[in-house]
Every structure is written in structure tokens, then in C-alpha cells.
Amino acid sequence: MFCYQCEQTARTDTSIGCNTERGNCGKDAQTSDLQDLLIYAVKGIAQYNVLARENGQADNEASAFILEAMFSTLTNVNFNAARFTTMLQQASSIRDRVKLAAGAKAANVEGPAAWVIPAEVGELLAQAEIAAVRAGEAEVGEDIIGLRAMILYGAKGVCAYAYHALMLEQQDDDVYAGIEKALSFLADNPTDVDALVGQALELGNVNLRVMEILDAGNKDKCGTPEPSQARVTPKAGKAILVSGHDMADLAELLKATEGKGVNVYTHGEMLPAHSYPELKKYDHLVGNYGTAWQNQQTEFADFPGPILMTSNCIIEPGPSYRQRIFTAGPVGWPGVRHIENHDFTTLIQAAKGTAGFAEDGEDKSITIGFGRDAVLGVAGTVVDAVKSGDIKHFFLVGGCDGADTGRNYYSDFVEQTPNDTVILTLGCAKYRFNDQDLGDIGGIPRLLDMGQCNDSYSAVQVAVALANAFECEVNDLPLSLVVSWFEQKAAAVLLTLLALNIKNIRLGPTLPAFITPAVLDVLVDAFDIKANTTPEADLEAILQKAS
């Protein structure tokens, strides 16, 4: 195996990437190779669907399959090798179908489209080399491989978000076309740096559209997020914990558990559920339990009921809760029960068969729900506060959390922000500081939780609206982006920010391993992207520049 797609990938003085029997995420070599092969297979589907789309015969079911397959290969999503062998066989038959729709030109397509996908596992794995992330590096060099990886990993994030949107009944032909174009581009083993950078930015634009339909899907299904209190302590009674990102799964679970005497708790990135009117209307959605994904082995072990993992990030279930954790959607772990078609029967039985919370915890809650409607609802006040000097600067501090000790940077950074600044946050990185009381500025809380990483569109819209209000470009706003990345969804959002020509982004806690020094030079030249240093130095640099 070789994998360097996430922030926790192995790094030594002489090498990068996880390349032993097991990656740092827990993914074994066999599963990693099968994931690479599945990506290779979906590139083949994409090659044909690009042609089918030209013929007006686009196969959107195949496009939806690409989303799920790609999402399954994200960090901390699916560790179940058997699911990948099944998907590879599905890919084979889907590709045959799309090939027919592609018409006469299909005969000339080479590469992944022409790969004969073996049915037998041993034969499949024997071919892993053709699909390896660094295949051809000896010929093209590590910079080209790094740029291809940036597109591939960005595409994985785009697909993950598009899958979330699809679960909320939102899809878009242009999105499918954009994803397939990127995968088809990669299938041709491109070597031109300008073309690679251009494709990466184009994918960033595709992701902007994806975030838009995802935002629309969440609103259609769950209503418009509104400032709300989310309880962070237990209530007595039977309990189910929902982690991941999928609001559609949560909505269905809340329906299925209504009147069943079972309370539902959110975990990690599901916290924003408490700000959606159509979700918080359920009395048995009682609160949030725990923090970000990397703490799940302790938090799930302590939770006295079953856990539903709706999307990333799952890590190896500990022995004390392995029998009571369930997966859904693209998620998988060997030996863990997978729920399909929102059939929560066993999950509810598990809730009834476990102890639940014996008593209420003390009343304690946090404020969430500052999506773009809430923020822009007070835009006039915000603009006035900036003009009067009450608000000197905005920081968007968000993204992924992780176990790395270097991520204390974000809590230290927020703690040290001056009192005349406002912090917008989203993603699970917020758990580093969302229990801090930062006070308010003229009634506007200094810490505004905009939701999940899935809600990045909201942040972009706020930035654009502020730029309009001040009649300037986003880059001229007193706004700094301090982005914490971990996996490929963050890579997709980064490409979107670059595609929007947002400059001076501070990225950490470490830069992606696939960004080589030469590629970094390209990004610095074009976008002035920066690596984190220390909270003190970065804050000083930002505020000095702003003044």
C-alpha cells in the first residue's frame, strides 16, 4: 500500500506516506489497494460517461455510484475490504452499461476504461500496481504525481459532499459532468503543470456548486439553521448517539424513534442538527454528547447506548462498544453491522437493550446555529460595527479536528484573539474552543458557529455579502482564513477557496504531504497560501497587515 491522502500520514526525515501493512488511520494494505483499484475502476466509468454525456445519454445512476465509491475511499470512512470487492464488481457492470451509452467513440478509450476487472480477489490484488497513487512517478516526477493527487483527493471531497447532497435529494448534471471530467482527465495521466493546476481550480468551482446544492438540500429537508442552544449534558433514559455528517440519516432516525422512549444525541459534526427547525422540533433530540471524531474511542465506550456512524470519521471501534456501533451509507468496519435503507430496527432494539443514562446531567448548553441567514440577518449591525471600529477583524477558524497535539494551535489562536475581533467557525475543529465564552460585541457573539464543514458555502456567502456591503473584494475585507485540514473534504474546500481567488489562507497544522515544495511554490505565488507558524506570530502578522 501507499497512501498520503490525509494529514496524519506517516512522515519521516526521508519519506512520506503510509506504506507498511497498516496506515496510520488503521486501514490495512489489502483494503488500501482495493480502494485504489476502485478509484481506477470509477475513472473508467467517468471516461465513458463523459462521452455518453456528449451524446445526451448521460447515466446519472453511474454518476451517483461514482460519488459513493469515491466517498468510501476517504480517510476514516470504510475499512471493510469485502465492501470494496463488491463495489468493484458493481463498477464492472456499471462501466459496461455506460460504455454502450458512450457510443462509437468508446472503442478508442484506453486506460482505466479498458481495464478487465477480475472477479477473483487474488487476481484483483495482483493488479494493484496499475492503480497505485504514485504509478508512473519514475517517469513524471513527484511534482506531477503530487498535483494529480491534489486533484484526486479534491475530487474525493467533492464526491463526498455531492453524496451528502444526493442523500438530501439534490443532484446536478453540471456537478456530475465536472467530477467525471476531472476523473477522466486523471485517467489520461496528465503531465502539464498548467493543465493540472487549471483542472484543480476547475474542480474547486465544481465544489462551490456542490456546496450550494448541499446547502439547499439541508434547508429543504431540515429548515434554515437558527441560533439555538444545544444541551451538552445527558438526560435520563435510553439513548442513541449519531455521529458523522448525514442530516438525512438523522432526520429518518428521529422519525423512526419518535414515541419509542429513546433519546437521540448528536456527536461531532452532527452538532449543528440542534439548529435546524425540522430536526430540533423532535423532543427526543435531546443534546450533543462528546466532542470531535478523534475522541470517539473514549466517548463511545462511555456512552450507554448504541452509536450510528453516518459518514466519516470512524476509527477502530473499541472492544467495549464494537457490538453496539452501527454504520450507514458509505461507512464500513469489518464485523460491524451496516444499516441500509434507513432500517433502524436493530439499532432501536440495541438502544432498548442497553442501560441508557440513569439520571439527568446538570443543565448546560452551548450556542450554535449562526448560518449565513442568521449572520446576514444582522449584516447592518455588523457593517456598522466595522465602520465604527467596534469590530476590527474577522477570523474564519475552522475545518477538521484531529488527534495531533499541534492542533492546540487553534484553541490558542482563538484564545488570543483581541476582544474587538469576531471568530466565525465551522467543522469539527471548533470543539477546540466552542466551550469558551468570548463575550459579544454590541450584542453580536464574538464566536459564531456556522455549522459543519458541509456548511462552507454559508461562510463563502457571508464573505461575499460583506465584500458587497463594503464595496470591495473578499481579499480586501478585514477577514483572515485560518484553516485546519485533516482529510479530503478539506482538500475540496481548499480548492474552492483557491478557485474563488481567496488569498493569504493559513493552512495547518501541517501542509498536505502530497504538496511538494515545487507545488507549494506555485500555490504561494498564485495565492500567497501560508503554513501555520505559532498563534502569536500569525496573529501579530495578520493584525499588523490589517492595520
Binding site: 489489502q30 469485502a82 463488491t86 435510553k238 469489518p334 464485523g335 451496516h338 436493530t346 432494539q349 442497553t354
Partner: protein, 345 residues
């Protein structure tokens, strides 16, 4: 004062854990003090549940039932093993099985008790919910429970025959042994609605999660019970591993559960069942011989095809030993063979 030594354990999933053990205590009791629950059942060297392998170090292996201990190099029964130096032991359990605390004790009620034929009873228990309505820890397919005869301290270990579930349902296939204490109670006195104490789940003989290997299950008599649990879970989880179950009995009169096996095949399209009768009547249409014979016959073809195999064995020691020997003779690694021995209590 007895000397103390360090016992280094390596688990089946290649994780390491250590604990101290005095020379006058056996490994199981010393491990328990360190909150490590090693697999065990009878604690008298009779059942083989605590089988491990000593890789290095000196120890005394006290008297035990020879059928309970395979003949491999360094084989030990941990309940009869007393260290004489620091020792390194390999156990066939995953770390999860030995660090999850001692087996729980619960009360269960008999929901049904039926004669399946072949001198075997199908016993269905339902765990009585605890104070908070909890049903206790879940079992893994392949594990066993200890069942206590009401009003006595007599316990017997039986493998679970159903898939893990949250309804607290536990199913067993129990052969009625003439003179056997538990089976006599079951045959003569037990009835629906009776309650009994149970302890478990226990045991390290479990289905390996999420592998892609073809699976071979070799069972003698009621040794089919843990295999059924594994296959039921495979059906439940839609695991598509190509699988073959070799189910052997001595005579056709000993056969049981054939209808249920047919039904299981319907839910597991990749399952083949080979029913083996050692001494059949003239009209027997199935395989004649032991399940070991049938397994070995097919194994040659499987190996020629280059199939990656995972073998599960459960039955009397003779069957388990013979199957292990056949598997290893054909090049299967010890890691790919998982077994449980049935021994009379």
C-alpha cells in the same frame, strides 16, 4: 514467599500485554488480578478452552486431560501452567476478548425446548432484562455460555447457535448424554418458563471479521452450533465469502437440523453444505466418511486453485486434530485455522 515472574502475552491480533505471575499461581488467576480475562472454562485442565503456546521461558505444566491439549510444540493449558521464569505466551484470542472484563452472570428463562432428532435438543433462552432494561454484553459468533443447573453449582459450557441479537435470545444445540448432569436435567426436568443462571459470553473461537478468504467450516455433531452462529451472522451481514460447511455424524439416525441448514443456504447463496455420515445405511445419497475426509478431499482442489482459505473446526479432539493435520499438510498456515474442542465435562 513465592517468586514472581513476568508473563508476556501476544494475542491473535498481534498485540502485546504483560502481567506478573507468582510461581504458585496459574496464569489464569494471575491474569485476572491484572484485569485480564484469559479464555478459560473448567480451570481443571479438562476442557482445553485456555489453550495457548509458550514461545520461550520455563514453566511447570501440571496434570491435565491429554485430549484437551494439542500436541504442538510449546502447547500449554494456561489453567495448569505455573511459570518458573519470565515467559512469552501466544494466545489465540484477540486483545478485545481478554480486556473486556470478566464474563457477566445473568438470569435467563427457557423460551422453548425442542427435540431436533439425533438425540439433540434445541434450547432457546431469553436473558431477563436488568434493572435498566439492559440485556448484558453481546456475544460474538462462535462464543459459548456457561449454563447452570438450577439449584446446583453445576455448570456446563455450550456454544451459541444463533446470531448475536439485542433481544437477549440465546440458542443452543445440546446432545443428550446418558448420565450427563446437565443433559439429564434438560431431558428430565427442564421446561418452558424455568429460569437458570448463565455466565458469558466467553471463548476466543470467533468468526474473523471482514476477511475476503473462502471459509471452510468442519463440524462434528453438535460442534455445528458455533458454525451456525457464524453463518447466521454472515447471512445477517450479507458477507459474500465463498463458504463450505462439512457437517458430520456417525449414523443417519444422528442427523439433525437438516431443514434449518437448507433454509440457511437460501439466505447465503455462497454456502455449500456437505453432510457426512460415517457409517450410513445402504440408501445414503450423501458423503460417506468423516467431515475430515470430505474437507481433505476438497482441500486439494482449493489449494490448487490458489484460494485463500480460513478454516473453522469444532468437535471432538480426534476430529479437530485430524482436520488440523490435513490442513497443515496441504500448506495452510496455523494462523488460518481456528478451532474449538468439545470435551466431556
Amino acid at each position: 514467599m513465592s517468586k514472581t515472574h513476568t508473563v508476556h502475552l501476544t494475542t491473535h491480533d498481534h498485540k502485546d500485554i504483560s502481567f506478573d505471575c507468582r510461581e504458585d499461581e496459574h496464569l489464569i488467576e494471575a491474569a485476572a488480578k491484572a484485569k485480564i480475562t484469559l479464555p478459560s472454562s473448567c480451570l481443571e485442565g479438562n476442557c482445553g478452552a485456555c489453550h495457548g503456546t509458550c514461545q520461550s521461558g520455563d514453566y511447570e505444566l501440571k496434570s491435565h486431560n491429554k485430549d484437551a491439549l494439542p500436541t504442538e510444540q510449546g502447547g500449554i493449558l494456561m489453567c495448569r501452567t505455573y511459570p518458573k521464569s519470565d515467559i512469552n505466551i501466544e494466545v489465540p484470542s484477540d486483545m478485545a476478548h481478554i480486556t473486556s472484563g470478566p464474563a457477566a452472570e445473568r438470569t435467563a428463562e427457557i423460551v422453548s425446548l425442542t427435540d431436533t432428532g439425533g438425540g439433540v435438543r434445541h434450547l432457546v433462552l431469553r436473558i431477563l432484562a436488568g434493572e435498566n432494561g439492559d440485556m448484558g454484553p453481546q456475544f460474538e459468533p462462535g462464543q459459548f455460555m456457561e449454563l447452570e443447573i438450577p439449584g446446583t453449582n453445576v455448570r456446563r459450557a455450550y456454544s451459541l447457535a444463533n446470531a448475536p441479537n439485542w433481544e437477549g435470545t440465546l440458542e443452543f444445540l445440546i446432545r443428550i448424554q446418558p448420565g450427563g448432569q446437565f443433559s439429564s436435567w434438560l431431558n428430565d426436568k427442564a421446561t418452558t418458563g424455568d429460569t437458570l443462571q448463565i455466565k458469558g459470553p466467553e471463548g476466543a473461537f470467533v468468526l474473523q471479521a471482514g476477511t475476503l478468504s473462502a471459509r471452510r467450516f468442519v463440524a462434528g455433531g453438535t460442534g455445528i452450533a458455533p458454525m451456525l452462529s457464524m453463518l447466521e451472522q454472515m447471512a445477517d451481514f450479507q458477507e459474500a465469502n465463498e463458504s463450505r460447511l462439512y457437517f458430520g455424524v456417525n449414523t443417519e439416525q444422528d442427523l439433525f437440523y437438516l431443514k434449518e441448514l437448507e433454509e440457511l443456504k437460501g439466505r447465503l447463496p455462497n454456502l455449500t453444505v456437505v453432510v457426512c455420515v460415517w457409517k450410513p445405511d445402504n440408501n445414503w445419497q450423501g458423503f460417506t466418511g468423516s467431515p475430515v475426509d470430505a474437507f481433505e478431499h476438497d482441500l486439494k482442489t482449493d489449494v490448487e486453485k490458489g484460494l485463500s482459505l480460513e478454516v473453522y473446526l469444532c468437535g471432538p479432539p480426534g476430529l479437530v486434530d485430524a482436520t488440523q493435520e490435513a490442513a497443515q499438510k496441504n500448506g495452510l498456515s496455523a494462523d488460518s485455522i481456528h478451532c474449538e474442542r468439545f470435551l466431556p465435562a
